[in-house]
Symmetry: D2
Amino acid sequence: MANSEFEYVRKFEEWDALAPSNWIVVRIDGRGFSKFSKRQSFAKPNDRRAIDLMNAAAVEVVKQFTDIVIAYGQSDEYSFVLHEDCQLFERRAAKLATSISTAFSVEYCMQWDKYFPGQALERPFPTFDGRCVLYPKKKILRDYLSWRQADCHVNNLYNTTFWNMVKGNPATETPPMTTTEAELALKGTFSADKNEILFKKFNINYNAEDEIWKKGSVVYRKFEDKQTTEAATSGNQIVKPADDHEKKKPKSKTQLEKERKRKQKARVVVEHVDIIKDKFWQENPWILE
Amino acid sequence: MANSEFEYVRKFEEWDALAPSNWIVVRIDGRGFSKFSKRQSFAKPNDRRAIDLMNAAAVEVVKQFTDIVIAYGQSDEYSFVLHEDCQLFERRAAKLATSISTAFSVEYCMQWDKYFPGQALERPFPTFDGRCVLYPKKKILRDYLSWRQADCHVNNLYNTTFWNMVKGNPATETPPMTTTEAELALKGTFSADKNEILFKKFNINYNAEDEIWKKGSVVYRKFEDKQTTEAATSGNQIVKPADDHEKKKPKSKTQLEKERKRKQKARVVVEHVDIIKDKFWQENPWILE
Amino acid sequence: MANSEFEYVRKFEEWDALAPSNWIVVRIDGRGFSKFSKRQSFAKPNDRRAIDLMNAAAVEVVKQFTDIVIAYGQSDEYSFVLHEDCQLFERRAAKLATSISTAFSVEYCMQWDKYFPGQALERPFPTFDGRCVLYPKKKILRDYLSWRQADCHVNNLYNTTFWNMVKGNPATETPPMTTTEAELALKGTFSADKNEILFKKFNINYNAEDEIWKKGSVVYRKFEDKQTTEAATSGNQIVKPADDHEKKKPKSKTQLEKERKRKQKARVVVEHVDIIKDKFWQENPWILE
Amino acid sequence: MANSEFEYVRKFEEWDALAPSNWIVVRIDGRGFSKFSKRQSFAKPNDRRAIDLMNAAAVEVVKQFTDIVIAYGQSDEYSFVLHEDCQLFERRAAKLATSISTAFSVEYCMQWDKYFPGQALERPFPTFDGRCVLYPKKKILRDYLSWRQADCHVNNLYNTTFWNMVKGNPATETPPMTTTEAELALKGTFSADKNEILFKKFNINYNAEDEIWKKGSVVYRKFEDKQTTEAATSGNQIVKPADDHEKKKPKSKTQLEKERKRKQKARVVVEHVDIIKDKFWQENPWILE
């Protein structure tokens, strides 16, 4: 029973390496999460435990994969950004997508008890699908992240208004609506309209809402001590953006290993800040360098 | 802060539907499992708890995804076969690969305690990479499965001999070897040689070893009562192999839903049988029909 | 000025080999041919010189590429079928598509004078786009060819009726229509309606029309002498369809070379026959073997 | 004979649009040109008629496809560069590769008589394969072009030396070599060695050789009158490189049509200049803008 006569089937495996010099985003999404969140009675419009769990899982994934330069999450989705020069798994698409989505899914389930104590997980256990998308320029990658953050804001404003309408507010004599009624009432409204509804009927100043809901969550490595910051910056200066006219020297194995260790030591932070404007990127120039 | 100006980034997402009328195999592999199995002190050459856990996870995945027609596992890998006409997730490669690999990884971690009680999981938690491979003909799919099962046999014979040599056998005055010595001693040996070493030095008749090690594990739905079997068979007769000259009628939604329910009710079994010869397939004709 | 510092750009080239064990169809289409055929005053509904030129070009392409097992053409399109085991150019998609489409385009232009004497070609010269499509089963490949031939019939019946209406028929006092009027008049009509219009108003029995218009053109190698036929058949029996349960032996280089020479010697024929029904394939079993 | 029952075969066609915001190079290569050039007795090391024909064909292709921003050719190859924002044929890979390679092949054959009068083309007629390669950054595209031009120089220095050695030089008492001898003699030599051989034995100053052989051929649109140049420049300023932080406005249909017409009117030039250094690109800034 030799396996040689069957080995020809290997020819059917396709090589799926992603094109070089493109930023890789692995985006994961909760599978069947509208059902799952109902079954687990997530608070509406936002459940702090659920988002804290998402962020805790993301932090572990960023720690485990030092090639991830930044991650952005909101609701039941997370985007993990790999550097355009990343060589992890030889840039094989399926390997990257499944490694990150399995690591995230497992973290989510294993940490569940900590965030939802006494509330057991049942089958089907929560999992997260993933896929790789390539962005050929830094500018387009930033637009991708801006798109997700703008989407977070738009959804959150809608959901905040919607769920308040469903709950109603006796103080302003606003009766509870059915979900269908609320949906209908919000159809065609603009941001300004929703802000006004919130303010007048629910006494909510949307701008004063927690940043975590309005901005989502940004996860990245923080290099704070002067020395490390300099090392980071100078280390990264070697990897100039490809549009630069100077030549890129590929890093030596020792350099790469050193860098990996430095990254493993760095503190991974979760912040709820604007990543659409330039300020964040100017303050953390090494992230996309 | 509208998200419309950023929406152009969606154009960078590629549509990755797999070619129609091809059998889809989602093969998953334990990530870094040689390290993991050492850390968790898996028994050598085979750890029954570890394989039982693999199989328990596979059973749940087969139950959850009714499009899986059969699965085959050995060591830290599992192959899940989706029917050539499967339309799950519109046949999108990343969606299929990540859904199945995350479901399996999560099951593995969540059931760990049951199979390794008192032996905690530590980070990095075990996960399984996955990828899709297409096989255009039933015959080639069977060759793929034969390849994996032949591989199981070849590896198991090697590992059984190797680990016995490392342990040594006082009864035959066979001293323990280092792993390097054993590796060297086995270099260039044929199956017959290994069988003889096992028999003469370790009093082991390889043919009498447990089928689970020699054949690996086959997971599939069993339709036992006469009625269901007939229903299964006649139901499946509608899906004639594409090489048939009669016309295929696509199933109606009601039919598909009925079939899904029937599958959900069916008993999912784990067997350690030969799937290289025709016998298994003749006894279970509906699997690939 | 060494080129070594720039060689990294080769990494951007993707390997585009087509999946094994799939029939490859290279389909070519005239680029901008509705304009071109007007400029060159092609007869309507069909121009015999134009089709003869298409077929002459196809014959040369079939002669040049011995991996083509059959070709089917109609109007300004041609489909060239490569065997599912074809290894030409390592099955690279771009190489196959451009080799065949350039060979066809060049033949078309170089033979133009013979079919359209005294009617010079002007820029932009006629060219034919091409693309590869994979069909995983023989049955599906035949359905593809049936699709093209059924399309030929449907289009030809329409065009024959349409252009007769535009010309009108004094004998039956049928006045000429504008193209818009004819289009409108034919909207929603069935085959039977068009057959009747042709018969009653234009005294045309559609069934008696030339087969070349109704069936299109089939180009293939004819092995007529008994000996060669047997050789062909037995030669091809080595390449059993993959669904067969016997093992396939890959052909030796000598065998392949011998077969190539035999093919080069074979007569390439153009026929206007039905390839939807089984008869043609039963009479020429070696074509898809 | 409806074609509806066969239409399902269309699902096997894959959508092959190239990733947005990437420079597209369609590179064509003469198929079997070492054989062809021998059969047609091309002069060695370089045949002026053959290169003039290549360039004449390229000029027509550039004229026909206004989306081509620049082309570079040497020996029997040509690279046609399409702008990163090019939308021609919806960026479908097969369509782009076959359109350009068929247009080039046809031009080459149709203009053959002009450059090789009285020297008939025979079957197989010369054709050119093609493929698309994507370059995500302007810098990398320039490196690609530099790679081809450096390759031209390296090959030409080698070929010039090689063929002179094969011919021999009585004036310096250098006897003719066989091709095998010359090959052997040149093995392991550096540029400096070849320069010296040429100078000492063949009285050839390589630097004084014609630029057409040392640099290859650059084909592009020249906008010379002040007004047009400004229009070109300002027109192109709208299409800022994507790394720019200002927003890109997609051009209107009228703008695109106007631009196409302006391009059709522009003079297409063939130059033999350095495109590795910045000078050329600084003098013709609109090419890659």
